[in-house]
Symmetry: C2
Subunit: 245 residues, 2 copies
């Protein structure tokens, strides 16, 4: 409890975006060499997080965005009465912290779900450089817009899908994101608990567990603890956007 912040290992490294393997995910394409040099100065800090570490907490003042270099994170919102809701899961190449820009205070907690690594992007510096790099400004707008669209998708999921559909949509989404990062689309390890999945999907953990069992019985997936294998992608996909009956 007390050592939460201390457990975060802060390293100063010459982190070079221009040669980063995640560049296609993080950075705008089509930058000239001189542009890239400017961007390289942006990220001077890398940060390691252990499982359970907070990147930031709701209410803390906002200074930087964080790009996931490796690992897995969740963001959660806490209500006054103690309920909390997972608002997203972030993996390599995705950004944390955009919620803080509007008010100067972070609106949610960000927690590492496994040992992870982040690039720290000081936001004032990012805004400064964006003024000189139209492509970087555009990129920033696009990233935020995509986050808005993603959130609308989750609203649709929570507002109009039934439990099985939600879980199917969640698995399809995870599969696609792993696939885009060069991992298997059909087999992966869940980094989050059933409860966290449930919170994200607006379901209780028992319901999530039951649905995993049901999908397994039906031969659509195979579940062994945190390991999920998708055995019938098409049937899984067809479960999404299925009318109630």
């Amino acid at each position: 409890m007390a050592g939460g912040a201390m457990a975060i290992n802060v390293e100063r490294l010459k982190t070079v975006c221009s040669s980063c393997s995640l560049r296609e995910l993080c950075m705008p394409v089509g930058l000239s060499q001189t542009d890239l040099d400017k961007v390289d100065g942006l990220v001077q800090l890398r940060r390691s997080s252990k499982r359970g570490d907070h990147v930031f907490r709701a209410g803390e003042s906002f200074h930087a965005l964080y790009a996931v270099r490796a690992g897995f994170f969740k963001t959660t919102l806490l209500t006054e009465d103690g309920r909390d809701q997972v608002t997203g899961f972030q993996m390599a190449g995705e950004l944390l912290g955009m919620d803080g820009i509007g008010t100067g205070k972070h609106a949610c907690d960000a927690v590492a779900l496994e040992d992870s690594e982040l690039c720290v992007i000081p936001f004032p510096k990012l805004e400064e450089i964006s003024l000189e790099l139209p492509a970087l400004q555009q990129h920033m707008h696009r990233v935020m817009s995509r986050e808005i669209v993603r959130d609308h998708g989750v609203m649709m999921l929570l507002g109009s899908m039934r439990a099985e559909e939600r879980l199917a949509a969640f698995l399809v989404n995870l599969s696609q994101r792993y696939s885009a990062r060069g991992f298997s689309a059909n087999e992966f390890i869940l980094r989050m608990t059933r409860e966290e999945i449930g919170s994200y999907l607006g379901l209780k953990l028992e319901t999530v567990s039951r649905l995993f069992s049901k999908l397994q019985e039906e031969g659509v997936i195979s579940v062994n603890q945190k390991r999920v294998t998708i055995t019938a992608v098409e049937r899984l996909r067809s479960l999404v956007n299925q009318r109630p009956c």
Copy 2:
């Protein structure tokens, strides 16, 4: 049906942001006169929409953001199987179209719920001017960030609140937004149908109707068709963030 697009009245006006009554909502504060002059060139088009008119549709290519000058809009997402979900309601001073930035195509439909007026903000021009006006760039970032935070709030609402809580939260939110625009916080006209409220809140229209009746019986609000009067704000607020039992 056929005349949908034609019904939208497009007017070229000398629309001056610097003297607009909504400036505090739309524009960054603290701009110098020369800055304001630049911004004034941005909005050269105003657009009137009649009730039911589309501002844009999902799939259409994205060119501009739209600032609501007067009136009321909804944005909706349509799934392949025909279900649609209201993702937001927008009123004076709020922006439409940010969903299109990321992909260059609009991701949702935007529809006027009453006769309304919009300012058209060509996005390429906005990005261009933002490069010269740090305050405008910052403003853009803040607006998008706030939209993300708002969406997370809706995710929380949909994922962890029960029906009565959702409607209470919705009414409190509407009340605050009307109040911020100089209208009564305690009495207002709903511009949307019960079905649209239900869609936004992840409920069926019958449930919304029943909840209105229930809240009225309890003396918290008074409902007469589309006219809502909040008679006990504190009790309404206390319904939000209430544990199930």
